[in-house]
Amino acid sequence: MTTRPLPAAREAFVLPALFLTVAGAGGLRIAPAGGALSFVPPPLITLVLAVLLLGVMARAGLLIPGGLLGDHRTGLENASGTVVLLSLFAASAQLFTCLTPDAGVLRLVFNLFFLFLLWNTLAAQPDRTRLLRSLIVVFGWAYVVRYVALAALADPQAGWTRRLLTVLLEGATAGPIEGEATAPLAGYVAFATVALYMIGLVLLPRPAPSAAVALVATRTGEVVE
C-alpha cells in the first residue's frame, strides 16, 4: 500500500519523541504516600499485547510498514522508519503497563480484557478511522477503571464515589473488590501518556488517496458479494 509522504521532521523527530516519551512515562509509578518514584519495565505479557496491537494496526491500515521501511527508501530513511517502529512498539508495551494494575487478580483480568479485545478487533478487520475510535474507547475505559474507579475504591476519603462503586459492584462479584491506591499526580501523568500515544498514532503515515479509494472499493465489493 502506498502512503502519503511524511515530512522528514515529523518522522525523524516528532514521532520518536512522542513514542519514547510514552515509553518512558508509561512505566512511571508514584507512591500515594510520600510520592516516591519508581520505573516499572514492561512485563512480558505487555510485549505480547504490543505485538498483537501492532498487528491489528497493520491490518487496519493505521500502521503501514511500507511507508516507513522498504527498498524504495534510502538507508537513512529506513533507519528513521526503524526508529519509529521500535519506539511505537516500546510505547505500546509501556502503555499497557501504564493502564494495567501492578498486581493481583485485577492485573490478570485487565490483561485478558486487552488480549480478547485485540483478538476480536483483529478478526473484525476495521479500517483506520474505526480502529482509532476503538482504541480511544478501549484505552479510555481502561484509564477510567484503573485511575478513577479502582483509585476511588482504595481511597477511604473518596466518600460518595466509593459508596456508589461498592453498591454498583455488589452482587456482581463473589467478594469485595479491592482498589489500587494511586497518587493523584499518577492519574494526570497517565492521561497525558494516553493522549500523547493517540496523537502519535494519528500522525503515522496515511495511505495515499488512490490506495484509500482502492481499499474502500475492495471493501464495498466484499459487502456486495
Binding site: 525523524a12 523527530f13 520518536p16 519508581s38 519495565p41 537513512l76 528513521s80
Partner: protein, 179 residues
C-alpha cells in the same frame, strides 16, 4: 546545465538528510537516557534531575554538605553524616560519597559482641553502588582517618560481618577493633 538538479532541490535534499541524521542522534540519546533512568531508578524528582545533569557531565557534589557529612562521620554521628552526604550527592552518582555512606553503615553497625545485620545489608548495597560508579570498578579513598581505603576492603568486611561461621564463637573476637 541540463542534467543537474536545481539548487533549491539540492538544498532541500541536504536539509532533509541533516534533519534525519539529527533525528537519529536525538532518538538514540533520548532512548539511552530512558534506559539509564529505568536502570538507576531515581526515587525523587531531584534525583532524576541530578541524573540528567550527571549524564551530560554537569553533575557536581555539593562541597558544603560533603564537608559537613565528613565532620559528622568523624564524630561518629552516622545518621547525621548520611543525611548530609545524601544531600551532597542526591543522584547517588559520586563514588567517594557513596563510599563514606557505606562506611557509616559499617561503623554504626559494628559492635564489640555483635554486628547489626540490617545496617550491614544497607552498607553492602551502598558500597556496591559506589563500586558501580567508580571508573573501572576500582575505588580508593586516601583518607588517613580510615583503616580501610578501598571499596573492595569495605565490601569484604561487610560481607564477613554478615556471614555466620564457627569462628564467631571465638571469645577473642571481642578484642577486635573497629576499622
Amino acid at each position: 546545465m541540463r542534467g543537474l538538479p536545481p539548487p533549491r532541490a539540492t538544498m532541500g535534499a541536504v536539509k532533509e538528510v541533516l534533519v534525519r541524521v539529527a533525528g537519529l542522534l536525538f532518538a538514540a540519546a533520548y532512548a539511552a537516557f530512558l534506559v539509564s533512568v529505568y536502570t538507576r531508578q531515581p526515587r525523587t524528582v531531584q534525583q532524576l534531575a541530578s541524573g540528567v545533569a550527571a549524564s551530560v557531565g554537569a553533575y557536581q557534589v555539593d562541597p558544603v554538605n560533603f564537608q559537613e557529612g565528613l565532620r559528622f562521620f568523624r564524630n561518629d554521628q552516622f545518621p547525621e553524616a548520611r543525611a548530609a552526604l545524601e544531600r551532597a550527592d542526591p543522584a547517588r552518582q559520586d563514588a567517594p560519597t557513596q563510599f563514606y555512606i557505606a562506611y557509616s553503615y559499617y561503623r554504626q553497625g559494628w559492635g564489640r559482641v555483635y554486628r547489626d545485620d540490617a545496617l550491614y545489608h544497607q552498607g553492602l548495597e551502598v558500597v556496591d553502588r559506589a563500586i558501580a560508579r567508580a571508573p573501572g570498578g576500582r575505588l580508593v579513598v586516601p583518607d588517613p582517618t580510615l583503616q580501610m581505603h578501598t571499596a573492595d576492603e569495605l565490601r569484604a568486611e561487610l560481607q564477613r560481618g554478615l556471614t555466620r561461621e564457627l569462628s564467631d564463637l571465638n571469645p577473642m573476637k571481642v578484642f577486635e577493633e573497629r576499622k
